[in-house]
Amino acid sequence: MTQPSIGVGNSVGARPQKNQAKRPGLLARLRGKRPGILPGFGLSLGFTLTYLSLIVLIPLSAVFLKTASLSATQFWAIVSSPRVVASYKLTYSVSLAGAAIDAVFGFLIAWVLARYSFPGKRIADALVDLPFALPTAVAGIALTSLYAPNGWLGQYLEPHGIHVVFTPLGIVVALSFIGLPFVVRSVQPVIEDLGRDVEEAAASLGANSWQTFTRIIFPAVFPALLTGFTLAFARALGEYGSVVFISGNMPMRTEITPLLIVSKLQQFDVPGATAIASVMLVSSFVLLLVINGLQAGLRGKGEDA
């Protein structure tokens, strides 16, 4: 081995280096007792919290503060009026229907993409995210023109008495379009990660394909499917752009809750819009908690394995 010129002798002299700045009290306390050497804690967390407060927290709190300025009777009168209740019912039922369609076909698509190879698979895989990428308004007008009585699909459905445009069915069509990627992208990685050894073990113990699927695979994928379903449902509840064109917006019949908020705003009924919005916000926060719980459960399961 050659002797290189490494050693203490030819050092370049102590490099000037500023000492770590003393951290301010509040952040230091927040951070607990683990000061390592990575820099930028105060700057990054400070910016994060400020920005989060200014853009999200303070504006969102406005909804609840504004609602709180209403008396309980006023509030109740708004959120329980027949037109509003009809919109809740419609919104929840079409969202459930849309999410259910997504669960079935999303699972199928995820399965096919995860397990099989076939020509055009990469394009199909990329296409799954179209509803994420396509502006909702574009999806709305495209679906409306497809299912209109003279549209590509509508012309075959109308003669059979199936009316899509300006009916709740149309809303379901739009919502299942919007929610599809949530299910596929939740389920697909889980199917991909299923160990083949587990299936081979099942087979070696005498299970046939169907038994392996129903007893081994489906239970493993189910939490992810439920997560995807809930995500699709939550997204559907608040959806506006893709629905507004196809629904026809008839009060009591095809008026979803977000639409109702917009029409209240257009009539300058800000308190009414806000009260309804607060009900929607609370229900979506509850769903968010459910989703977080599901995902935490999913992670817990993963660690056990």
Binding site: I6, G7, V8, V12
Partner: protein, 356 residues
């Protein structure tokens, strides 16, 4: 360059990772921090490096207080457990990084940097790989590059966190001998962390054994192996047999063996434990009187120059592991199921009781 650690304590929440540890490393010395996982050895190393800061105590580098200095100011070379090579840079760029980030007035010229990197590549015998990326190298090669990168900044001390932990057994052995030779050449005060006692005993000038954040013993490999300070150290450095016994009016009764109390152990009545390594177990066909254990031979593992025997104390049913020379094994004509008499040639007892 010398390192002195004085009464260092480090807590993470309620957990005390390093508990009042003091030690010194002389210039040119290679010290191993040995301990099981969670013993605080990596935290101690990171505090010496300036990657973590102690809650109390101080760190002196060359007799100068460096407790509050960060890593760059301490001029340490640190080799990370998973090498931490910059994956988007070539091997050349990785090694040159420390030279290039120096303030302009201290920076070497482009050609000097190139010479220096090539010298280091020669030192770690990887000249041909300068244009490769880290993921094109094997684990052992990455390890050597990590070392070259740490040496490029001419550190005054070299710290290595589990340097061979991620390598397979054969490469491990080669690389640690190579590291020993390299250390003898460059002669920088070095500390490395390991949980492998064989590695520590073979490579280091001195070994510091840690457990639950406390320094149990520090000394040359010979010292810690021959004169372990306590049961933990004894246990951690090799396989042991455990004999339960009692101290009764100055006499020690361990298993069925009866002996005078040794001078180093206190004569306090009560239960006691005796320890002996497998090669310190004598086997005979004849009973040696009170100081032997009557045992049955359960299994014979006979591959290699030494024969390993698994025995069971007939009275207490405790398992005993013995290792004897093949010649002796042949002489004794041992067979599975034989009843034999066992006596430890060197039975240790420790003041402080330690449960395995």
């Amino acid at each position: 360059m010398s390192i002195e650690v004085r009464n260092i304590t480090k807590r993470f929440g309620a957990f005390t990772a390093v508990d009042d540890v003091s030690l010194q490393v002389g210039g040119g010395e290679l010290l191993a921090l040995l301990g099981p996982s969670g013993s605080g050895k990596t935290t101690l190393l990171r505090m010496i490096a300036g990657l973590e800061f102690p809650d109390s105590g101080s760190i002196l580098l060359n007799n100068e207080d460096a407790t509050k200095h960060d890593a760059a100011r301490r001029r340490v070379g640190f080799v990370f457990q998973h090498y931490a090579l910059f994956r988007h840079m070539t091997i050349f760029e990785n090694i040159a990084f420390g030279l290039r980030v120096r303030p302009r007035q201290h920076r070497l010229s482009k050609s000097d940097i190139r010479d220096k990197v090539m010298q280091l590549l020669a030192l770690v015998q990887l000249e041909k790989h300068e244009k490769h990326f880290p993921n094109q190298l094997s684990g052992g090669q990455r390890q050597r590059i990590a070392l070259a990168r740490a040496l490029a900044v001419e550190p005054t001390l070299l710290l290595l966190d589990e340097p061979f932990g991620a390598l397979d057994a054969k490469v491990r052995k080669e690389l640690r001998r190579w590291l020993r030779r390299l250390h003898d050449e460059i002669h920088i005060a070095s500390v490395f962390v390991t949980h492998d006692q064989e590695e520590a005993l073979e490579v280091a000038d001195r070994v510091a054994v840690l457990n639950h954040g406390k320094l149990e013993q520090i000394g040359t490999p010979q010292e810690v192996y021959d004169n372990p300070a306590n049961a933990f150290v004894y246990n951690f450095l090799g396989n042991v047999n455990l004999f339960h016994g009692r101290v009764d009016r100055g006499r020690v009764r361990i298993s069925t063996m009866d002996s005078e109390s040794q001078e180093s152990t206190p004569v306090v009545d009560g239960s006691t434990l005796g320890y002996a390594r497998p090669y310190e177990i004598n086997i005979s066909r004849e009973s040696g009187g009170a100081a032997t254990v009557h045992a049955r031979l359960l299994h014979i593992y006979g591959v290699g120059p030494k024969v390993k025997l698994e025995l069971q104390d007939i009275e207490t049913e405790a398992m005993i592991e013995a290792e004897i020379e093949r010649t002796q094994f042949v002489e004794l004509e041992l067979k599975q199921g034989d009843e034999v008499f066992v006596s430890p040639s060197n039975l240790r007892r420790f003041v402080e009781d330690y449960s395995i």
